[in-house]
């Protein structure tokens, strides 16, 4: 299964945010509660923690770059050899928790 990460509408009129730091590169595995990426909104730093197992497959928005809500940031999968889709939007959402620090 291929999963995408995108940031949904959260509080405080967040429409655009900055990717601070990915905590993994393509090929890295993660477990539930693993830190995937840190994001920065106008209000706070947000830690995105995995709610499932998986591995990094493709990162669209690099450290320091900006992204809009509901736009895919990256793709993940269960297995390393699963084919990536043409359009990221069709993938299932990765189960994650957004922890506002």
């Amino acid at each position: 299964m291929i999963y995408k990460l995108s940031v949904p509408v959260v509080a405080d009129d967040v429409e655009e945010f900055r990717v601070l730091e990915w905590h993994g590169v393509v090929g890295d595995k993660f477990e539930p509660d693993g830190l995937i990426v840190e994001l920065e909104t106008h209000k706070a730093v947000v830690e995105v923690r995995a709610g499932q197992k998986g591995l990094f497959r493709q990162i669209f928005v690099e450290d320091g770059a900006w992204c809009q809500i509901n736009v895919p940031l990256a793709l993940f999968s269960d297995e390393p050899d699963e084919a990536l889709p043409e359009a990221a939007e069709g993938a299932y959402d990765l189960v994650v928790d957004f922890d506002v620090t």
């Binding site: 405080d12 009129d13 967040v14 429409e15 655009e16 900055r18 909104t41 106008h42 209000k43 900006w66």
Partner: protein, 333 residues
Amino acid sequence: MSIETLAAPTALKRMFYREAIARAMREKMMLDERIIILGQDVGSFGGSYREFDGLFETFGPQRVRDTPVAEAAMIGIGVGAAAAGLRPLVSITYMDFIMLGLDPLVNYGAKVRYKTGGQLTAPVVVKLTAGAKGQGVAHSQCIEAWLMGVPGLRVVAPSTPADSYGLMRTALDCDGPVVFVDHKRLFPIPGDVPVEPTDTPFGKAAILRAGSDVTITTHSFMTRVAMEAATALARDGVSCEVIDLRSLAPLDIETVAASVGRTGALLTLEEGQATCGVGAEVIAQVQTQLGPMPFARVGALPAPVSSNPVLEAACVPDAERVCAAVRQLLRLG
């Protein structure tokens, strides 16, 4: 949606509105140790909107001072410290509460140069955050029109991170009191800011969108509403020129008059009250220069802004109301 400006500089960095303010503060505080900050939560908390993030760590508690919620005292102290040789920035979390500090700001800060024949001045920046965002009647007001007419007081209202950066730099260099008006709804919106240290001059408006049928003047968060309305009107073949005033005192009437000379019609838009508002002054000054022309004002409905979201939305101008006002002004169906 992005706001285009004329003469974009070459190297830009995208940042949040609050980061642009913090950057201007940092740059100027490095150069001039007389600059201090007074306000609630400006210290280790980094500012009510995180707009002073990191400054306490760099410059310490002598220069970045938390104050109790006491606006009359804060402004009184800021104005007095300015007259005594410091260059304070007093940060008032909600513009509404400038009312508590109007006496020291106006009767001392704005007048001390006149009263002392120039021997004393009060180079203080009073930063206020205006605007409706769900916080009710005493935490939503846009009352910059109350301050524009005070002799000796400069009033600026940036609508982008680039302008908040540039206008704050200019404000910190000013020889007299400056009221710097942010808006709560501008803080979430990032924008591109010049990498090179850059000042934005006072008294210079910015044409955000060129147009030929009507000139819309506005400032602060309403610039985004104006641009949204202009986009919608363009689909119906109505071409709007949108001007961000940026500086309310001094007002750049030359740019506005030149625009209205081309378009032939003027609509003013503000989040504050239309009665005795920014728009009323713009219209009077433009007509003094050009003679009569069709004009209209759009502002908040004459009611306090409720914390109820439905009532708030009804009170504060939106793109739909601006479009209707333009159509009526231009006598389109």
